[in-house]
Symmetry: C2
Subunit: 353 residues, 2 copies
């Protein structure tokens, strides 16, 4: 166990499900449901079903994968399924999947019969280091990211690193992006370790523990994001707006990690102007992010549409953009007002590269 916050425990599995079985035995439920998408139903659910089959009966509820399914209609589908199965207040929902599954499952469980217990078992790297931890859940509305949702903590987050072996390279890099962010906002040592060794599926375990500890510790200090938790949003003001634009377009969908890498690069440039980040550190950050993650092509994006989405950023106040920006590698400030024209400058600078 790494941490305990607001009723939410994090358990690291040792290549088996024994600690999960113990936990389920200690927290008896009237029925157990496992929410999956078609991928985790195929690749991950059989492992769980097999491990639990002597002790528990499991009902599977399956939703379609993909960010475009993170919408209220999918929640209605899952609420209906729970009701059809006769799920009562003492039922348990296990969310087995990446960010989309844990975001939807957390919201559905927290609102079904005014809240039933749920457990997150993230299967993606993004899920393990970010989406499944910290209690944020929700769905997009009209392409606006996470506009409807809650902060509501799972009973348990169960980390089973073996699942990482099922990920392709693009999905693995997607999660790495958040780990780099954790280093940039809170732990220069982690950032340096990430630059020293190329991280892959086999050498990631220690890095994973560090990244989860950083996120857990920030969340437990400020669970409802009244202040410091906002630093976890570094790269996300611009990143979410980019995602929204592309969710709404016909072209290639951007992964969350890809969007926030671009967001981190642009917000690093803003950090120089607004937050005292030195040009040397700014270059160190942006050069490395470009080298490791590459550059996205946003030339087809309309800046005004992008700005329209940026206006919906949850950190904004009184119709003013409020960013979380770096003052140094490993240190981040929040509630920094940023002008529209400076957002335009970094947006153009990125696209001109």
């Amino acid at each position: 166990m790494i941490d305990q916050l607001k009723g939410s425990r994090i358990l690291f599995a040792e290549n088996n499900f024994d600690s999960l079985i113990d936990f389920l035995n200690d927290n008896s439920s009237s029925q157990i449901f496992v929410l999956t998408d078609e991928n985790t139903r195929k690749h991950c659910l059989p492992l769980i079903t097999h491990a639990l089959k002597n002790n528990f009966t499991i009902n599977n509820i399956e939703i379609e994968s993909g960010e475009h399914n993170k919408k209220i209609e999918t929640c209605i589908f899952v609420w209906n399924k729970l009701s059809e199965f006769g799920a009562d207040k003492n039922s348990l929902l296990i969310n087995l999947g990446g960010g989309v599954v844990t975001d939807i499952g957390g919201f559905v469980a927290s609102t079904y019969l005014r809240g039933i217990n749920f457990i997150n078992i993230p299967t993606s790297l993004m899920g393990m280091v970010d989406a499944s931890i910290g209690g944020k859940n929700g769905v997009d509305r009209d392409s606006i990211k996470n506009q409807i949702g809650l902060i509501s903590f799972p009973l348990l987050v169960f980390i089973f690193p073996e699942f990482l072996k099922t990920l392709n390279d693009r999905n693995f890099k997607n999660g790495l992006a958040e780990i780099y962010k954790h280093g940039l906002i809170a732990d220069k040592n982690l950032w340096n370790r990430l630059l020293l060794n190329k991280i892959n599926r086999t050498n990631i375990k220690e890095i994973l523990v560090s990244a989860i500890e950083i996120k857990s510790s920030i969340v437990s200090e400020d669970p409802f994001e009244l202040g410091k938790r906002k630093i976890l949003n570094f790269g996300h003001s611009i990143g979410h707006a980019l995602e929204s634009c592309l969710l709404n377009s016909e072209g290639q969908q951007l992964f969350h990690g890809e969007a926030i890498v671009a967001g981190m690069i642009m917000e690093t440039w803003l950090s120089e102007k607004y937050c005292g980040l030195t040009p040397e550190e700014s270059n160190e950050i942006t050069n490395n992010l470009f080298t490791i993650f590459g550059k996205e092509n946003f030339s087809q994006l309309d800046f005004d549409e992008f700005l329209g989405y940026l206006k919906h950023d949850k950190k904004n106040q009184h119709q003013q953009f409020n960013f979380s920006l770096l003052n140094a590698i490993g240190s981040c400030k929040w509630n920094i007002p940023v002008s529209k024209s400076d957002v335009k400058i970094v947006f153009d600078r990125y696209n001109a590269i």
Copy 2:
């Protein structure tokens, strides 16, 4: 101020809105929205707009009145409106209406941008003594009452008894039902006061204060309904199932209070068998409830359909009916398993009268 629980204050107005204005000044918001239905927009909103006009700008969002509109589609409409108005995380939603408005508004506010502040200004007696207090919110799903929702406390509950003058007799009696229930479950003295004098719009103020104090005190003892709060559900297991049946039918809609009076009568009979309520007190309760509220006609209801809805009661566990029942006037127990056949007996007994 009567009570303070989990961040939720209750203010009693003295025929003006001064204390509301002070509260709004102390809790500055970026924008203020008032949720109404067509009735409260017409009869109540003008008073508020007039009182606040020198200090605040208000945007009205209107939904259609009626329990059949307490559904997720109405929430989507209100989320969309908030988004169109550019509501940010620092916005405030004032729910001005009866139980439908405060239930929907509380849920929408608690889930918009993962939660914005909200204030309840109940305009019905039912709202003042029950729906607006205690943080329960939500919507019906497929005729199942409050299946989707949360427990989430308003920043303030503002009680303005003058609004009671806008209620017709049926609506007034609807709220009275919950006041009788408050007496039955927790305060024999209140029950006796209710029997001594016929309560009307002009002599209700002291009774109102007592009823609100009872509910507040039970809620603050057990805000998330892990135990004692379940006594507030006396009459509601059967009452909600009756409401659901009738919501789903073509005929006359039943008001919540009407359904729970019938529920209280049937559950009083169950209390004799399961909870040691004496036949004398049982008769005192049922005779008075029949005299004051009359008898509903459920002859068209199908018992199996009714039972289907009863299975969705939130208090049930492991597919067993769990009721809150009286052991005496003014005292209530919870988590009492009740058999299907005994539910059938009291259902038939009611209909045979």
